[in-house]
Amino acid sequence: MSILAIDTATQVSSVAIAQAGRLQAEITLQARLTHSETLMPHIQQVLDMADTKAADLEGIAISIGPGSFTGLRIGLATAKAMCYALDKPLVTVSTLAALACHLPLPGICLLPLIDAQKGNAYYARYHWENGGLVAEDEVSVGAMADIVAGCAAEKRPVILLGDVTQRRIAGCMELPDNVTIAPAHELMPRAACVAMLGLRELAQGHTANVMDAAPIYIRRSEAEVLWEKRHPESVSTQEAHAVLVPTEGKS
């Protein structure tokens, strides 16, 4: 039984079909095409390549964030609609954890970074222990320059991952002696890693709710932050929700 995995969290578009212990097919593009146009055709193609019918999938794994808000929503809306129509379970995988899956090296701090705009990145530290991936802290957001400089305090080698390191860190800032950037083909998000972590989640029965699953944004919208700054007195008031418009009945 195979799983379909999707990662549209960054500029990289990646889809994969995998079974436990076996990657069957993967399409990964870093070509600045829009996810909206290419995702569904890629899913169709990767299923064909793996000679797998959508109806025969065991489930769908989605890279849930953090990442580009719009990219995450395109991936998740597609995954949710497919799970709903095919009656398959949905599993969510941290985009950062999937990146840390690339390099299962013991004794090393893996530091995946995802673009958070304006020189900032979402990040968390990971390491491998007894064949398992361990997250060391909660996902944070900070200035890329500070994150990189802060690595000097680590008493172990640090490897940076994430396609943003290629664009914003490599050659742009000085790296502390204990820091290296993963090779180009290893630093971008790949759905194969999402699939491997997703299979594990699925085996453990950790499925997401297809009805209301939401991306992990970490950050709130700028409009909300600004509004709360201007209205400090109403910060704790209840959040407003969408409401159903009363219908006129059947026609």
Binding site: L39, M40, A54, R73, A77, Y84, A85, L244
Partner: protein
């Protein structure tokens, strides 16, 4: 597998272009089995307008429950759906993308056709749902938040765009003026309500492009005139006669819309005039247009209030007629936030003159 006859087709429509998440099921082209609309008006109210990122965040959470509810209310199973129609523009790009991605996921998984629908054409087609007997040809006056246009609907797949706004849409002027007068979002219905208590002839605001035979619209001059008037009244320390301002502004907008719409219908030899778009819910516009159409011997109709809001039933209706002419989309369909109305002539027709 042979396809059912078109009258039996079940079309699932999706709409997420702005602040409403909607899903609907249609049997054939006209029978609405369900039309579920989840509105985010309470969410955006405190910001005084729709915040795109917040709208997208609500769409991604609401889309599946809304689809599920639409199927439940229609009492049909997802696997019986014959095609999926979705709004791909115009609208907010992040909001549109949620609906487009979900529609693709559904259409692919079900193995049914995908149909990308122009939201503005959807508004015109809402009239087919309100009036089951309505058939082309007719003249359509489209008035929505972002668009104002006159469209000669010659057939289900044949339109001629006679003119549209050169600058601001009527709806934008309504929203901006409401904001300046301190009315809460959404401003259009507030101005409409206020206008009923005011004198429409109290202030003489300008009407642009009102020469005969010109079917283009311009509301930026009017908007500036109203804003200038409000500013100068404030400078003079006068209490704002809000009801009179609303009534006079609305009167000026309505006169331009009504005059051009009736003239266009007569010039094109149409016996019918329909109103379409979000601003069609404006009671002043509807009443005046009805009166003018009657005086000119034109039949007039407009969608019910529910079908004037952004809803998926009108998208499913437009999608149904596109499917009848074989106008499907492939899975490369993208959101087109700036999509406009344009004339459309099917492949097997010669382009018309003029």
């Amino acid at each position: 597998m042979s396809r059912k006859i078109p009258e039996e087709w079940l079309t699932l429509g999706l709409e997420s272009s702005c602040d409403e998440t909607s899903a609907a099921v249609l049997r054939g082209g006209r029978e609405v089995l369900s039309n579920v609309i989840s509105t985010q008006i309470p969410v955006h109210q405190k910001f005084g307008g729709v915040v795109p990122e917040i709208a997208s965040r609500h769409h991604i959470v609401n889309i599946m429950p809304v689809i599920d509810e639409a199927l439940r209310q229609a009492e049909v199973r997802l696997k019986d759906i014959d095609q999926v129609a979705v709004t791909y523009g115009p609208g907010l790009v992040g909001a549109l993308l949620v609906g487009v991605a979900a529609a693709k996921g559904l259409a692919f998984s079900l193995g049914v056709p995908l149909i990308g629908v122009n939201h503005l054409e959807g508004h015109i087609f809402a009239n087919f749902l309100s009036d089951k007997e309505l058939e082309p040809p007719f003249m359509a006056l489209v008035v929505s938040g972002g668009h104002t246009a006159l469209v000669h609907v010659k057939d289900y797949d044949r339109f001629t765009l006679l003119g549209q706004t050169r600058d601001d849409a009527a709806g934008e002027a309504f929203d901006k003026i409401a904001r300046v007068m301190g009315l809460p979002y959404p401003g259009g219905p507030r101005i409409d309500a206020l206008a009923r208590e005011g004198n429409p002839l109290a202030i003489d605001f300008p009407r642009a492009l009102d020469e005969k035979g010109n079917y283009e619209f311009s509301f930026s001059g009017l908007k500036s005139a109203v804003l200038n008037y409000i500013n100068s009244e404030k400078m003079k320390g006068h209490e704002l006669a809000k009801a009179d301002i609303a009534a006079s502004f609305q009167h000026s907008v309505i006169e331009v819309l009504v005059t051009k719409a009736v003239e266009a219908a007569k010039a094109a030899g149409c016996g019918r005039l329909v109103l379409a778009g979000g601003v069609a819910a404006n009671s002043g516009l509807e009443a005046r247009l009805r009166e003018a159409a009657q005086a000119a011997g034109l039949r007039f109709s407009y969608p019910s209030r529910l079908l004037c809001t952004d809803n998926a039933a009108m998208i499913a209706c437009r999608g149904y007629y596109q499917a009848l002419s074989g106008e499907y989309s492939d899975f490369y369909l993208n959101a087109v936030p700036g999509l406009g109305l344009s004339s459309r002539v099917p492949d097997d027709h010669e382009p018309e003159e003029g």
